[in-house]
Amino acid sequence: MLSFTKIKVLSIYLILFLGIFFASLNFKSNNLINKKVNLGLDLQGGSYILLEIDTRPLINQKLQTKVIPIKKLLNKNEIVFRDFTISQDNISLTIEKEKQDKFKNLFFKQQENTINNFISEYNKFELELEFNQNKVFIKFSKFGLLSLNNAALKQSIEIIRRRIDDVGTKEPTILQRGDKRILVELPGIDNPERIKELLGKTAQLTFRLVSKNDAFGSEKLILSESGEELTVNKRVVISGDNLVDAQPQFDNQSNQPIVLFTLDRLGAQKFGRITTENVGRRLAIVLDNSVISAPQIREAIIGGTGTISGGFSFQESTDLALLLRSGALPAPINIVEERTVGPDLGKDSIDAGVFSLIVGFVLVIIFMFIKYRIFGLVSNISLVSNLLMMIGILTILEATLTLPGIAGIILTVGMAVDSNVLIYERIKEELKTEKSIIHAFDTGYNKAKITVIDANVTTLIAAVILFIFGSGPVKGFAVTLGTGIVTTLFSAYFIARHLTSVIVLNDKKGRYFNL
């Protein structure tokens, strides 16, 4: 165990050198390799926001769009139906038994199917049928729901990215988490309230006419500025989909902040026609079920641009313009988890973490030196190498260092010496019975090897499981703990063993063996 070939020695120190090189990148920037250990949000300050989309309204909305095509199909094929009702997650109707097969065939037609999309990705239909005597239920299949959900999630991520980019935060992270969640990380933000407000809004904009009486197909909505209750037609004149741009501006006359919007060609045509036909009536501008403003149409608006005024502050008009530009979310989004750390707390945590790391490190080094003298020194050199290589590996992985991660490093420092202690204690025992010092060291290393490996594998198991199941900061702890085990094994069995061999082979008289 004490003999090393030249190649082996060379590769050991080459690996150590590489570790030190990568570790140094954190302190001195290098133009060629741009790698660094990232600081977690708990250390640099920032906001972690977990969002969850609620697809239930979307399912209902999608079912609504199927109503007319289904009725058309039934009428065209002379299938008599009655009791056509639509509920939260299904459409039900009554069809005579003998016609049900015909309907089924039309419903699952592969080509030119106007009602039931075939999802080639899963090789399945989006909708499925359920029969109960004369009753027929139409609802989304598992795969239909899945693709609906995925599409909504993808679109939401896109829109959220646009909104956050528009606000102009530095290096935001926006990731999909599971099949319903979106993770947003905003480093350096200590007051995320404005962004939270922007993220939480669906921003579904519609222009709808105000009715004079409680006509059929209208609903009562509140005008947010004055609290006035308005009866608003359910029929949408134009929606936010027709919007191509929105900018905050000041009104020429009143100097109030307003939002100037521009419609696409189709929207402009429609808007022109409606405003021409309805001069004198009020047009409600509805955002997420509340009326922002309901001005009277004084004249036809044919240019495709218009303004929204609603007694906004400048910030409000800026945010509204931003929301309209980025588009509406396909489904409502809720914040299910938020963690925000202010930059000064982050800095305090780094200071305390690094300070306790240094103190712990120095204490362990002093202890080992007192206990094992020259071999304590060897162990300490391997401990320093261990720490440097650990930082090196974390740099290569571009891992994120969190506060528990720093704790993981400190813990590694405490436990790293275990391998060396195990070996030295073993050698001590061997020295009692063995006359040849070299032989004693050799058997010592050999016999301790199994124990060292067994002991470290068990800790590695804990680290791996923590990494898989842990979330956020805990993951950071698992990464440093796991990395620490690997570097510990390397430094104990290669670096420390080589240094020991140099001492033992050069000091045949055993002057230093006061283990």
Binding site: V336, T340, G342, P404, I468
Partner: protein, 299 residues
């Protein structure tokens, strides 16, 4: 070895003591339960720093006298003027909630307030986090059980797992008795304890296995005694260096790491004890002898 300590003499006493400690822990866990933090219970946590150091904890409490918050818990945290506020309400039902609360506190105590940390966890997420934490601990235990079973015999595996469960239950029991908060980092600490205690147990088991093959005449308890003594200096030194590092986190690492390092310190002490006084006697109860080890090789 001159400093031979007759550990096996204390095995019975220690086992009764351990059993009592485990029973008391379970009773506390069952009846008093754990003081779950925001991570596992849901709700909101605020860490604030008030510039005006004359503001007392009662003032902060009064400023939070808002009925909709529900159960509010305020405590001093770290240096003077730093407070930790916890309440059950999920602040994200309304995006403006935190902003309003901030203004409210600043106005009522008439001093600049720095919001250093805000954590809000919804009920669904907190439930998932708790489930994940428990799953992680159970999985870690099973994985280690399996590893030891492959590397040693099933009796060793059982011995080590009994020791691990002993450590985890007592650590959590102490957290329950002291009403210390259990959050995500405590789960990490418990898992590390599991790893550390296992590490310790493996070292002793390794020696027991070696000695079982070396001495065929001795009783299992005598072999356990020899093995524990032979590895004793290592056990003490490693525990010491680990504790040195942990105490430096506990004292100097800041408030946030206090709970974590406290759990670890407890775990290292209990884990070291259990490797000697719990895991080793189990081998005797299961009548592990040289023949147990040789059986495999004969096949």
């Amino acid at each position: 070895m001159n400093n031979k300590i007759n550990f096996s003499k204390f095995f019975n006493v220690a086992n009764i003591f351990s059993l009592l400690a485990v029973i008391i822990s379970i009773l506390f866990l069952f009846f008093k339960g754990l003081n779950y933090g925001v991570d596992f219970k849901g709700g909101t946590l605020l860490e604030i720093r008030i510039e005006n150091k004359n503001i007392q904890i009662q003032d902060v409490r009064e400023s939070l006298n808002i009925p909709e918050l529900g159960d509010v818990n305020v405590k001093q945290f770290g240096i003077e003027g730093d407070f930790l506020i916890k309440f059950e309400k999920n602040a994200n039902e309304n995006e403006k909630f935190i902003t309003d609360l901030k203004n409210n506190i600043s106005k009522k105590i008439a001093s600049a307030v720095n919001f250093r940390r805000v954590e809000t966890v919804g009920p669904k997420v907190s439930g998932e986090l708790l489930k994940q934490g428990v799953t992680a601990i159970i999985l870690a235990l099973s994985a280690m059980l399996f590893y030891i079973w492959i590397r040693f015999e099933w009796q060793f595996s059982l011995g080590s797992i009994i020791a691990l469960i002993h450590d985890v239950v007592i650590t959590l029991g102490i957290f329950s008795i002291l009403s210390f908060e259990v959050n995500l980092s405590i789960v990490a600490a418990v898992l590390t304890i599991v790893g550390y205690s296992m590490n310790d147990t493996v070292v002793i088991f390794d020696r027991i296995r070696e000695n079982l093959l070396k001495y065929s005449k001795l009783k299992t308890n005598e072999i356990a005694d020899i093995s524990v003594n032979e590895t004793l200096s290592r056990t003490i030194i490693t525990s010491l260096t680990t504790l040195l590092a942990l105490f430096s986190i506990f004292i100097l690492g800041g408030e946030i790491l206090k709970g974590f390092s406290f759990a670890m310190i407890l775990g290292v002490v209990i884990g070291t004890y259990s490797s000697i006084f719990v895991a080793s006697p189990v081998l005797n109860y299961f009548k592990v002898t040289q023949r147990t080890l040789l059986k495999d090789e004969d096949l």
